[in-house]
Amino acid sequence: MGSEFVLFVSAAIFCIGATGFIIRRNPLIMFMSVELMLNSVNFLLVGYSKFTNTLDGQIFALLIMVVAAAEVVVGLAIILTIFRTRRDLDVDHINVLKG
C-alpha cells in the first residue's frame, strides 16, 4: 500500500465528483462536486510529491487552490446574478443567455 492507495482514493473521489456534477441540478451542489474533483487531484499531487521526493506536486496543489478560490468566487457571483434575475436555481430551467 502506498501510491496505489493514493491513486485509488483520488480516482474514487474524482469519479464521485463527476457523477455529482452530472446527476444533480442544483448549481451549488454542482459547484461542490467540482470542488471534490479539484480536491482529489490535489491529494494525488501531494501523495506523489512524497513518493518521488520532490515538491513540485505540493506547489501545483497550492496553485490549484488559488485557481479554485478564484473560480468559486466568480461562479457564485454568476449564480447569485442569475438568481436575482430569475428567482429560480434549477439548471434545467436556465436556457437563455440573455438576462
Partner: protein
C-alpha cells in the same frame, strides 16, 4: 508496528474521505452537502499531514475548509436551501455508464505504477530539517516564480470580474431594479 498503525490510520481517513464525498452528492439539501464537503476537506488535510505536507494541510484548512466553504454557506443562506424537484432525464443513465468506464480507466494507472524514475532531493529528512513551509517557499520562489506571479494576476482578474458582476443591478423585463 508503527508502520502498520500508520497504514491503518491512512486507510481509515481515506475511507472517511470517500464516504464524505458520497454524502456531498447524495444529500438533498445543499446545506448538508456543504457540511459533508467540509468533512471531506478536513479528511484530505489530515492525509496531507500524514504525507509530510504540513504547509499544504494548513492552507487546505484555512483556504478551502475555511474561506471557500464559508462563502458557500453564505450563498446557500442567501438563496435558501430549496430541494430540487425529481424529474426523470437521460443524464442519470448516461452518468452511470460513463462514470464506471472513467473509474476503470483511472484504475488502469494502478497496473502501470512500478518504476519511479523521478527522485528529487526533498527527502523526508530534508523536509523535517528545514520545515515544510520553508521547503515549499524555497521551491516556489526559485523554480516556480512565474506561475506564482500568474496566480496573482488571476486573483486580480477574479476580483475585478466579481466587482463587475456585483456592482450593476440585474435587469428585470428591460428596466433596472434597485
Amino acid at each position: 508496528m508503527f508502520d502498520l498503525a500508520y497504514q491503518t490510520i491512512v486507510a481509515i481517513i481515506g475511507g472517511t474521505a470517500i464516504l464524505a464525498s458520497f454524502g456531498v452528492i447524495l444529500c438533498a439539501s445543499p446545506i448538508y452537502s456543504a457540511l459533508y464537503l467540509i468533512s471531506n476537506m478536513i479528511c484530505l488535510a489530515l492525509l496531507f499531514l500524514l504525507y509530510n505536507a504540513e504547509f499544504i494541510a494548513a492552507v487546505q484548512i484555512i483556504v478551502y475548509a475555511g474561506a471557500v466553504m464559508i462563502l458557500f454557506l453564505f450563498i446557500i443562506a442567501l438563496l435558501g436551501a430549496k430541494k430540487e424537484e425529481k424529474t426523470s432525464s437521460w443524464e442519470k443513465p448516461a452518468a452511470f455508464t460513463f462514470i464506471p468506464v472513467l473509474f476503470g480507466e483511472l484504475l488502469m494507472a494502478l497496473t502501470m505504477d512500478e518504476g519511479r524514475p523521478v527522485q528529487g532531493r526533498f527527502t523526508e529528512e530534508f523536509i523535517a530539517n528545514v520545515g515544510s513551509a520553508q521547503a515549499v517557499g524555497l521551491e516556489l520562489f526559485s523554480r516556480h516564480l512565474i506561475p506564482f506571479e500568474l496566480a496573482s494576476i488571476l486573483l486580480l482578474a477574479a476580483t475585478v470580474g466579481v466587482i463587475c458582476l456585483a456592482k450593476f443591478p440585474a435587469k428585470v423585463g428591460g428596466r433596472r431594479v434597485k
